[in-house]
Symmetry: C2
Subunit: 417 residues, 2 copies
Amino acid sequence: MIAEILCVGTELLMGQVLNTNAQYIARRLAAQGVSIYHQQVVGDNEQRLEEAYRLALSRADVVITSGGLGPTVDDITKRTAAKVLGKELVLNEEAYRMVCERFQQYHRKMTLNNQSQAMFTADTQILPNPNGTAPGAIVPAGEGKVIIHLPGPPHELEPMFHDQVEPWIQARSGHVLVSRYIRIFGMGESEVDMRLKDMEVRDNPTLSPYCSLGEVILRATARAEDAQTAAAMLEPVISEIRSRLGRVIYDVRTDDGGSLAETAVHTLRDKGWTIATAESLTGGLIASTMVEVPGASNVVKGGWVTYQTVSKTMLLGVPEETIARCNVVSEEVACAMAKSAREQLDVDIAVSATGLAGPDGGTPERPVGTVFLGIATRERVYAVPLHLSGNRARIRTLTVKHALHAVTREIKGEMEG
Amino acid sequence: MIAEILCVGTELLMGQVLNTNAQYIARRLAAQGVSIYHQQVVGDNEQRLEEAYRLALSRADVVITSGGLGPTVDDITKRTAAKVLGKELVLNEEAYRMVCERFQQYHRKMTLNNQSQAMFTADTQILPNPNGTAPGAIVPAGEGKVIIHLPGPPHELEPMFHDQVEPWIQARSGHVLVSRYIRIFGMGESEVDMRLKDMEVRDNPTLSPYCSLGEVILRATARAEDAQTAAAMLEPVISEIRSRLGRVIYDVRTDDGGSLAETAVHTLRDKGWTIATAESLTGGLIASTMVEVPGASNVVKGGWVTYQTVSKTMLLGVPEETIARCNVVSEEVACAMAKSAREQLDVDIAVSATGLAGPDGGTPERPVGTVFLGIATRERVYAVPLHLSGNRARIRTLTVKHALHAVTREIKGEMEG
């Protein structure tokens, strides 16, 4: 099966909106084993959209559109598809009922225009939209091909794709694909590649790595007649990867979510521990990244942002003498920050960070990117030195990731300290 | 001038990487008055790239590619363009010198492959790349058309586009476009539209709004023979917009950067004030958003993350009795948090936030999205109630933006308190 992604909207074409839909659809299609060779973006222009449809239908089995399902005259996605297919749009009663229900739910008044959101070709399969007014659609396009219309807003498109389009793809393909996502921190992509090279060329299960700021995510996908068989095929692959990569794997999941923060919060929760933070260069980002995870309120007790040097003394009691003797970016200060944070809030573990995010302030002895994490538990206090590279934003983000990883490893007893 | 964006890379096609380059290029082209009707994405496949070039050259004057300038066999962007144009790639001495210099600078060893990064058609104009090894290029494509090759990494592509491609476009178009970016917080897009409707239909200067999470950004662009004339044309437009929108405008800039955090940090700096934060639902995000701004170290003294209720008492001395009587999400607690933060760190202003980010915890009296900001200065302490909607992430982000805006307005004397 070959799919093509066709995003419709002048706001995408002109760059007013970032095209996250194309990435979402592409990534999910790839996980389903569907081939993608082209993505197109066109504006709300009937002639150019018509050409885009003809081109896409000439080279793909499934054309997936996003956007242009609204009630205004600019919303031409369905109308133009019908024109290309030589069909008429008629009011679909089922879709009309869905649109009306949604308007009632939102306490909004329907205008005559909104009826257009329920207009489809007679042979269309409607995709209900629980998160917005515009239903999606699967429209037969001749020769076994289809056009799938999805709404533009990501919070409408993503659940519709996941809950309705993916099962349709699986049913059509006659086999099932099951994936596992192996999340890795602390090993570069080239090192991962080198260790798994022979596994990455296999046909089934497939193994494909991708990177995101300091992390590598491996997707392992098995193809089989049913989900149980596929899942069973993945087990030895995951075990083999675990034995080759070891502790840099921090999570293995059935979905492509997850993060170091989620793992840290869940590890704390499972152990029944509370945590405090004491942050300098990260300025509160370690704490706020954990707070993003639902359930963080049970484990994140509180913390300090001690950005200016004087606040490390005022709030955390780091002796001025230590700062003067060892430098504010030092193991000693990181340890003192973490120790004080743990004691003041009476938590099980505290993590601190002090370092140079740049662009200024580096010296030959302490270049930009020099960072010390402090870890304090009821048993011990120690520092973790980091030597990071990149710009200010990257150094701060990597510091947060290292801090969350260090917390997880300390709780799991993996840190030598 | 009509431009088309052609992004090359299997990692983009498969959704492993988000296509921020297409948005950047599109937005900058739109600001230069260049028309864009199509964007394409293709993988590292010679035949499909060849077809994409032919299609783009059939309908655009300028085809801008991103990606595929590296030294590996997968990097086919230049080679395939040359094939489509019926030309040969030859070693460009100037480009070769640049590549060598970059390798020396990065202390990396050049391999024979890297020579391919200096191979161009004989009539190519080289675009130096100060941020990476691969130079860009402007390649004549017949009939006055060109293909412009840009490197894939955004931190290489963006400065190359801004510093080299934009002046080239201006020189070629025979006129100059000058833009101003008006940043607005606290008024919705439809309200902005309504107030400026008559101005948005004008031809020169043009006015176009775009949205980003709770903010509206207006771009005003004037076209003239020289920059001074264009800038002068913008002045009355900006004045008119100021008089129609008033204090919701928080910044007017010559570039499309800027943020509420930058304005807050600069306003603090200009006034010579220091700030402290006391954060509950935002968990450190107000502080860390300010810390992102270069120069924040002079104004952001420090702060607290008091996520669990008990930490508000332990760290900020908020009386248990007040919390029990008024609720932890209340004006009184927000004020007490801000007052304590200001006093403990002896700063000029402190901002606090307490609220319900959801998804759980809402009540009929205090639904999810109920947030109170606290503002404390040496003169006064008051709370700002917010009623936000959306999911957890959106409520937290909007809280940060409101907090930064409240700080700026308090310093400027615009808050009634």
